[in-house]
Symmetry: C2
Subunit: 151 residues, 2 copies
């Protein structure tokens, strides 16, 4: 059945590309002593200030795991814990200037590392690929969920 074939071919391509992308992110992160998860957290924090529990849920991690992760990154000055004015139990996570600078640099390195691969498509094909990917993607963590205030 051609519908199943297309499903399998796509699955294979998505999985292979995922491992390829993860390999690049892991390597570049490691060159700066950042785990894949820490790299991801910094990327998320660029335009968000989530609470610990929301961030843990989005990452699919236990809250205790996130505590340690945030500890280590905070010790390095890449991010900080902040009080939440509405609920004293809550801890917000925010990026520091140093963290922002680092993730900006790494983003550029990732772009350069993947340029040979993405460059095998022309601009129109890249746009088409991005467009086809869009419906497949899970929505990201909402931007600055604090300002949407609904808790």
């Amino acid at each position: 059945m051609t519908s199943e074939d297309s499903e399998d071919a796509l699955l294979d391509g998505l999985v292979r590309s995922a491992f390829q992308i993860m390999g690049v992110l892991t390597r570049i992160g490691a060159e700066h002593d950042l785990s894949l998860t820490q790299l991801r957290v910094l990327g998320i924090l660029r335009d968000r200030r989530p609470r610990m529990s929301d961030l843990a849920a989005f990452l699919g991690l236990d809250k205790s795991t996130l505590s340690g992760l945030i500890d280590r990154a905070e010790r390095r000055g890449l991010l900080a814990r902040g009080a939440n004015p509405d609920d004293k139990r809550v801890v917000d996570v925010l990026i520091t200037d140093a963290g922002r600078e680092l993730i900006g640099k790494l983003h550029q390195e990732v772009r350069e590392a993947l340029a040979p691969a993405t460059g095998r498509l022309d601009a129109q094909q890249r746009r088409q690929l991005a467009d086809l990917l869009e419906p497949v993607l899970t929505p990201p963590l909402p931007l600055t969920p604090r300002s949407t205030a609904q808790r």
Copy 2:
């Protein structure tokens, strides 16, 4: 510049889809006490019998890391170490029947878990997406490199 824009949009989509796919693989692996890397190894071993060093290099892992990984999977009976007739230093890695059965089941689970996402495209779009992905992908480990004998 529109060429840079398409590059950035594609990068974002690829990275997001990578995390999404990895999340699914990690979750389904964990439900069967398999790490992401072990899942990947079983997938690779389905139609290959690589030596330790080639497998480590392909995975981007140190050989010592792979030793431990293979140890744990071997203890569970999912794969085995085999002698290499051409070079007594070399250890080949091969999947067992139990490992093959397990990875087959997980493959099916992954397919089902991602069906809602990939199903948001019709068959033609899925084929198109897979085709556009192809040039971006790194070549996989060669099939049964032992039979291609060139060492």
